[in-house]
């Protein structure tokens, strides 16, 4: 493939699809290393512009390449810098050129290329990659425009589709369901049973969701106290769980107890004391911490792990269903960028082509005697003009931006317009 000479926009990347964890870790750049990398890439003259996107799942180098073989040179550069065998890097890497490179970035920004389909964090990371490149002075007209277009596309995807709406994690789903029962969770009381790994994760999650009143009960009280003091919650004695029920709006079970801790009778009595105010139970434990019969009580909402997993699976399917709409938006925005990019390069291509034809004309005229030369010149001019006319017209009028790019690249290749 002679990709490198045909495409001027180039992408070299390693992500979770092609590169193993250890390889990705070796390549991954810190913010400081991104700056250093950008400076070195430009300093070596490998690219005229560059932006590096580096997250835990991907390292991607976008560049505007001048000359042939920029892709190979980039790989060599990374292998020297990171001390990785070139063929190891090469096998784990992927390369994209021109419109394909741009399309990849748009997909990344929209969360289509993420492990958790549709996640939104990556959009911020793309935006940050651009701002680092701007500070370093390594992004200029084209990449600046490309990244801003990608960020705009990503934002549109957020507002116009549901790809990021339905949560995928069990804890987020639990919080979302509770939110739809109580409205605001901030003023509600959450009682957490268990201070182990799951309990700790969930505690952090509900605090992030704005819960102010979190009580933690654990069979070993020291663990509850330790966790409570660490995250700013309140520890309650294990023995008083049944007594805590009436004041708890949300109860979450995360213990390893072989027996249920919350019994139907306890909840019935709690509901009487609450005058029928809704209660919400999340059982993240296996075997269950909350008796399944609790579900039958009036105005009580109860979910177990299986139920939540089902919701997660359904939400994942919902996100997948949104993909065609997301892609429509991306193609629209991509088209806009490529139109701009295409316009950008018709003029230089036509100028280069004209110069190439005129060189040939002049060389041929040189071989004629001076008297003849002046007589033939008008004919030669007319042939050059006629030969140029149709290709120029067609390049200028090509409305499909991606095709225009391909044709421009083809013209540059066929007439050898890119000096090595």
């Amino acid at each position: 493939m002679s990709d490198a000479r045909e495409a001027r926009l180039l992408l070299l990347g390693w992500n979770f699809r092609g590169a193993s964890g250890p390889v990705r870790e070796r390549i991954a750049f810190t913010t400081e290393e991104v700056r250093e990398g950008l400076r070195r890439l430009l300093g070596k003259g490998l690219v005229s512009e560059s932006v590096i996107v580096s997250t835990c799942h991907r390292s991607e180098i976008y560049g505007i390449a001048e000359g042939k073989g920029a892709g190979e040179e980039l790989t060599r550069f990374i292998s020297d810098w990171r001390g990785l065998e070139p063929d190891v890097l090469e096998r784990a890497a992927f390369r994209r050129f021109g419109a394909e490179a741009a399309r990849h970035l748009f997909r990344v920004a929209a969360g289509l290329d993420s492990m958790a389909l549709g996640e939104s964090e990556v959009l911020g990371q793309v935006r940050q990659a651009l701002s680092i490149a701007r500070e370093t002075g390594s992004s200029r007209a084209v990449l600046h425009r490309l990244f801003e277009s990608a960020v705009r596309a990503g934002k549109r995807v957020r507002t116009e589709t549901e790809i990021g709406v339905h949560p995928l994690s069990i804890a987020s789903i639990g919080v979302e369901l509770a939110n739809k029962v109580f409205g605001e969770l901030a003023e509600r009381t959450v009682l957490l049973l268990g201070a182990g790994e799951t309990g700790t994760l969930f505690a952090r999650h509900v605090l992030e969701a704005g819960v102010r009143n979190l009580k933690i009960a654990n069979r070993t009280p020291e663990h509850a106290e330790h966790l409570a003091s660490r995250i700013g919650a309140q520890a309650v004695p294990w023995e008083t769980v049944a007594r805590e029920l009436p004041s708890a709006d949300v109860v979450v079970g995360t213990t390893a107890s072989p027996e249920p801790i919350v019994r139907r009778a306890d909840v019935e009595s709690a509901m009487r004391q609450r005058k029928g105010k809704a209660m919400f139970f999340l059982d993240l434990a296996m075997p269950p911490d909350i008796e399944p019969e609790v579900r039958g009580i009036y105005n009580v909402f109860a979910y177990d792990l299986d139920g939540l997993e089902e919701v997660a699976a359904e939400n994942r399917r919902r996100r997948v269903r949104e993909v065609p709409r997301v892609e429509e938006i991306l193609e629209e925005e991509l088209g806009r960028f490529l139109t701009w990019f295409g316009n950008l390069s018709v003029v230089p291509t036509v100028t280069d082509l004209k110069r190439r034809f005129e060189e040939i004309r002049d060389r041929e005229l040189e071989r004629l005697p001076a008297a003849e030369r002046e007589r033939v010149r008008p004919l030669a001019d007319s042939i050059v003009a006629k030969l140029l006319h149709e290709p120029m017209r067609r390049l200028k009028n090509e409305s499909d931006a991606a095709r225009k790019l391909e044709r421009l690249e083809a013209v540059r290749y066929l007439f050898d317009l890119d000096p090595d």
Partner: protein, 264 residues
């Protein structure tokens, strides 16, 4: 006649379409509130024209009273949307505004006005009764939404309706407000009606009065039980039952059971 009334109907229909459309978009209220507002203006002007030809508020006729009811319901929708930014209510509430507006235009709105139906006491009595019915209609729609949302949450269906409909707590609160307004306004209306009837009629036992008291009883029970352990679907079902009584009073009682006490 009623050209403006039909304009309002058209605007409400467009508003419904936009309200449904906005339900499937992640953000924004869409054009529905603006269209309803325009419909309200058109309907108000229509009611004014009818009123001018009658020489009073057009509540005495069946068509006029229903149009007025639709207008108040539309106003309630607008207030809810602007107050709570709640777009999920539109698709369920606007159809009622639309249906009653059509009835208001189609049903007769010219009745011979006897001396019995003049005076401000009477005007307040009827207007407040219609306002109360609008409040109960709102409570009815909110109760439907409550039941739908309750079902979505229980089944873990986190789809479009789930994400668009407000939390149960919020729907319940709006429902309580509507029912309370309905009860207060209907009570005042009944009191005014009784005072007025004493003057005009010589003693009466009226089916509509009995029905109004029954309605008050049901909504009163709904609010009472809401704080006594029935918070949840049961309260919503009571509200739906209450509105069925209101509809029955408007239709069956109005047409067949009550003699003097009707919209014509």
């Amino acid at each position: 006649m009623h050209a403006l009334g039909w304009v309002a109907v058209g605007l409400y229909a467009a508003a419904e379409a936009m309200a449904i459309r906005s339900l499937f978009r992640p953000k924004g209220l869409g054009a529905a509130p603006a269209l309803v507002a325009a419909g309200l203006v058109a309907q108000f002007l229509d009611l004014q024209l009818v009123g001018r030809s009658l020489g009073s508020v057009p509540y005495r006729t069946l068509g006029g009273s229903i149009a007025l009811f639709a207008w108040m319901l539309g106003l309630a929708y607008l207030a809810l949307v602007l107050r709570h930014r709640e777009r999920a209510i539109g698709p369920f509430l606007i159809p009622f505004v639309l249906a009653f507006s059509v009835l208001g235009v189609v049903l007769p709105s010219h009745a011979p006005s006897g001396p019995a139906t003049r005076g401000s006491l009477f005007a307040f009595h009827v207007t407040l009764a219609i306002l109360a019915d609008a409040a109960f209609a709102l409570s009815f729609v909110l109760s439907l939404l409550y039941l739908i949302q309750n079902r979505q949450i229980r089944r873990g269906r986190t789809g479009v309706l789930f994400s668009r409909l407000p939390a149960l707590e919020v729907i319940g609160r709006m429902n309580r407000t509507s029912a309370t307004i309905g009860i207060v306004v209907l009570t005042v209306s009944v009191a005014l009606g009784v005072a007025w009837a004493r003057r005009v009629w010589s003693g009466f036992t009226d089916a509509k009065l009995v029905w109004a008291l029954l309605t008050l009883l049901v909504y009163g029970m709904m609010l009472w039980m809401d704080r006594r352990g029935w918070e949840g679907p049961r309260v919503a079902l009571l509200s739906i039952f209450g509105f069925l009584l209101v509809l029955f009073s408007y239709t069956f009682v109005n047409l067949y059971l009550s003699q003097a006490h009707v919209f014509r």
